[in-house]
């Protein structure tokens, strides 16, 4: 056998053994990995409504239990109806169920950031106007600067802010450059949160992203403002 052929065959054999080993590992571990990703998503939704304290460590089964007891997820169809079904022609939305009704609704936020996408969840109270919570679970922003959006201090600032102005028109909630009390008139202060120093671009992109997402879910928010929300029975 020529040297060249030997080398090729040997390398092919190594490649085959490696692929078999990795395929076995990947499929054997698949169930666990999928569960981890699902639990992570549930944890982030629970964080957005404040059912999990960001500083606590909660076990996976506790997360799954808390989620099953408190959260129901549906699809917001184009017609504005909330349906129990897959999200291919509608928007996903989750509800925090308390005392038989929705106490808050949780929207997935996928915004442009400075260095990549920002992913999180925003929860709005059942009045359709007040922010109940905000959590960020994935981003590529600079640590210490834009990266502060993942910190509790920044996310807590959103609680109690309003997505509508005094007249009741939709304005979304934005991040200013500097402190809200210094740059925004008193009447508009409920629609803004303090910016992160050194991260004005992250703030600008996130503001745009939040406005876009909240705009998409306005039909649902309007239903909540009117108090006329129809959740699918059962759940």
């Amino acid at each position: 056998m020529s040297d060249q052929l030997k080398s090729i065959l040997f390398t092919a054999a190594v490649a085959l053994v490696c692929s078999l080993l990795l395929t076995a590992a990947a499929s054997g571990l698949k169930a666990r990995k999928l569960r981890n990703v699902a639990v992570d998503r549930q944890k982030n939704i629970l964080k957005a409504v404040g059912l999990i304290d960001p500083d606590q460590t909660v076990s996976a089964s506790q997360i799954e239990q808390r989620y099953a007891e408190n959260i129901r997820c549906y699809t917001l169809a184009g017609t504005g109806r909330i349906v129990d079904g897959d999200t291919s022609d509608g928007l996903p939305v989750c509800f925090y169920i308390k005392d038989g009704g929705a106490a808050a609704y949780i929207l997935p936020v996928d915004s442009r950031g400075l260095w990549g996408k920002i992913h999180g969840y925003m929860a709005i109270e059942k009045d359709g106007k007040t922010v109940a919570g905000f959590s960020v679970y994935s981003h590529n922003e600079t640590p210490g600067l834009g990266g502060e959006i993942e910190k509790p201090w920044f996310q807590k600032n959103f609680v109690g802010k309003k997505i509508v102005d005094e007249k009741g028109d939709f304005v979304s909630v934005g991040i200013v450059k500097g402190k809200v009390t210094d740059v925004i008139a008193k009447a508009q202060q409920p629609n803004y949160v303090d910016g992160i120093s050194g991260a004005s671009l992250t703030g600008k992109f996130l503001t745009g992203g939040l406005k876009k997402v909240l705009m998409e879910y306005e039909p649902l928010s309007e239903q909540f403002r009117k108090g006329a929300v129809d959740l699918p029975a059962g759940g």
Binding site: K6, F10, T11, A25, R32, V37
Partner: protein, 205 residues
Amino acid sequence: MKLLQSPTFKAFSEPLVKNNPVFIQSLGICSALAVTVQLQTAVVMALAMTSVTAFSSLTISSMRKVIPRNVRMIVELSVIASLVILADQLLRAYLYEISKQLSVFVGLIITNCIVMGRSETYALGNPPIKSFMDGLGNGAGYGLVLVTVAAIRELLGAGKLFGFAVIPQAAYDFGYMNMGFMQLAPAAFIIIGLLVWLQKTLMKE
């Protein structure tokens, strides 16, 4: 003790300090900067890297007599890459939170010069058990550096070790503040430089 003098044990002990891969051989510095912000991530990274180096050296050494010379680097890379992917999969399955923090850096173990360096310079010319110990020792030497740098960075940059507050609240009330600079990569660079200086000074005596 006879065991401590055996060449096999020396293969493990030498890279710990005397021939430390980061300080003396100047290998693997890049990831040392990125994963040393917290002790917990540094420890996991060190364990992942040590297992990869030890097992890749073992595998390559077992095959050393049959690997054709002209494709040896390709074979080394395949073995190392497979072990790294395996380590990444295990982390995602069993230590998900930490794997998210480590993100791309586990994958980058493939690029860590120490792993390939030991395969090429030691494993190809030495028996399997000795190669395994050499891999273990180099991984442990690298791990020692990671843990030391991370301990300094987490203590000075966040006042914690392994996530537990070590600096008492009284100190903060008195006016003490965490050194924010410690959380950025250049701090790791400076700490490593200072430690190299320290080690070389101590070794001269």
